[in-house]
Assembly symmetry: C2
Homo-oligomer: 296 residues x 2
């Protein structure tokens, strides 16, 4: 039995609550919303879990969760505040780190473009890319967030994709082409950036936030010639395939946080009544940092 | 100075002879056609090349070529007929082997779909995939070629993409999804097959033969969601990036040929006057085996 303390609010929840065909089961009407959360074990019959342990897992938007081991994603044992296990050490930071290093294969001097650069994943991708020696270029959707990319997350360059001429800017920012595209949006940003990739470039697909609906199937310019002629490696990444890699990744991220090399922002509201509107805020782009609900 | 013996005829030459924007320079009017060829060294001032050596390289559609070391792709020293160095041991066989093993990462039991399955690359992909334990499914464009896939190249299954309901057939042939798509066509076959890939599948992009022109840019269904949700790795492969891997690959392919595990077909015409029409035949799908011109 886990008593929840921090509930995670994530864009994917919109899809989970929809009856539109999706790659996860629809959350049933009347059931608790599927969600990650950080909680404390109040009763255990599992020899590997003790009362008082802090866990991060699929505990839902509810006060208490009756969980088995399959619901546990990570154990919150590192010396960071508890909320961090649902943000920088949660799926956002872990996705950024494992997708960038595993699929993006960054090398010093690489030009790295990040879409949703100020977001809950992108803000880490930019910092981790910089830490690994990349020249980081961020795209985001407002002048305010451009400022946060530059001043808070340390991007070398950042642009508002709504107002910049992206193809012209990328030709200037990466005259020999982009080595890595870390894409959370899909759509027009992806199409434009693919055509600015360097031969041998890596495209990491971690989200498709720019496409509001896949029914009917949206169309766009054909991209297979870019894959071929630029010898791209275009990979999809979903963190839940990488359970075994999580503890080591958490240790690395935690150390970087303690050294001050990795900053993270959280936007915490107190009380479960704030949870539904928080999803809408994510899609409106109003959040600054990882959206959490505290119910301690 | 290389005296050419076998001239290679390849689909890419149509693009090289066109002024339409392309990723290779246009062959100038009045210059010799850019082409791979097998020839014999008749004079050498390079200490690593002796008179009488057989070479495979960029010697052009001409009787003699004045070449330096940068024009040499491979050295024809293995115990197979000389023409084989422009077919199974040339870029066709080498592309099939290195792209399938390097990007496709085949494992026993994998379901492997090959477009242009009877072609000069695809016919090797099917045989190599079978040799490595894959269940091989070939797509080709005529009933005659379906027969060659099954009877000559050993595909477990083969279909005429012009008459089969591809999505329905793939759902039946690979009920848990395709592990590997080796695609030489792009277009509708690619779009359909992407939507039948298994989670973690590999897509190897070696050609885009189904798209006759990229100007104006053709459109199609957006594919980034397939990359993400199926966690695909979609890679472009061009053999000329892999010079260092060629000798070992040639040794493997040559051994398989001698053991009878790998068959190869050549369609050789005698005399350079047959060369231009041979390109048109490739696009008409009339060839059976690697198209070569003998001028010895």
């Amino acid at each position: 039995v886990v008593r929840n303390l921090y509930l995670s609010v994530d864009p994917a929840q919109r899809g989970w609550a929809s009856t539109e065909s999706n790659y996860s089961d629809t959350v049933p009407l009347g059931g608790p919303m599927r969600a990650l959360a950080v909680g404390i074990v109040v009763r255990s019959r599992d020899a590997t879990v003790e009362e008082g342990d802090f866990l991060y897992g699929w505990f839902g938007w509810q006060d208490y969760s009756l969980a088995d081991r399959s619901k546990i994603l990570t154990r919150a044992t590192l010396p960071l505040p508890l909320s961090a296990f649902a943000s920088v050490l949660g799926i956002n930071g872990l996705t950024a780190y494992l997708a960038l290093t595993g699929c993006g294969r960054p090398r010093p001097g690489d030009r790295l473009l990040v879409s949703t650069a100020a977001g809950s994943v992108g803000s880490f991708v930019g910092q981790i890319g910089q830490k690994l020696g990349c020249h980081t270029i961020g795209l985001t959707g407002s002048e305010d967030k451009v400022g946060r990319c530059l001043n808070r997350f340390g991007y070398h360059e950042a642009y508002n994709y709504k107002t910049v001429d992206l193809a012209a800017q990328l030709a200037q920012s990466a005259p020999e082409g982009l080595d890595i595209l870390y894409d959370n949006t899909g759509g027009a940003i992806l199409d434009t950036a693919l055509r600015q990739m360097r031969v041998g470039g890596r495209v990491v697909q971690c989200g498709t936030a720019a496409i509001a609906s896949w029914m009917p199937p949206p169309v766009g310019p054909r991209n297979e010639r870019e894959v071929l002629t630029r010898r791209l490696t275009w990979s999809g990444f979903v963190i839940f395939d990488h359970q075994a890699a999580l503890p080591a990744a958490m240790a690395t991220l935690s150390a970087w946080c303690q050294q001050g090399d990795l900053v993270y922002d959280e936007h915490v509201s107190d009380g479960i009544q704030h949870a539904p509107a928080a999803i809408a805020e994510l899609y409106a782009g109003d959040n600054q940092g990882k959206r959490l609900i505290y119910i301690g």
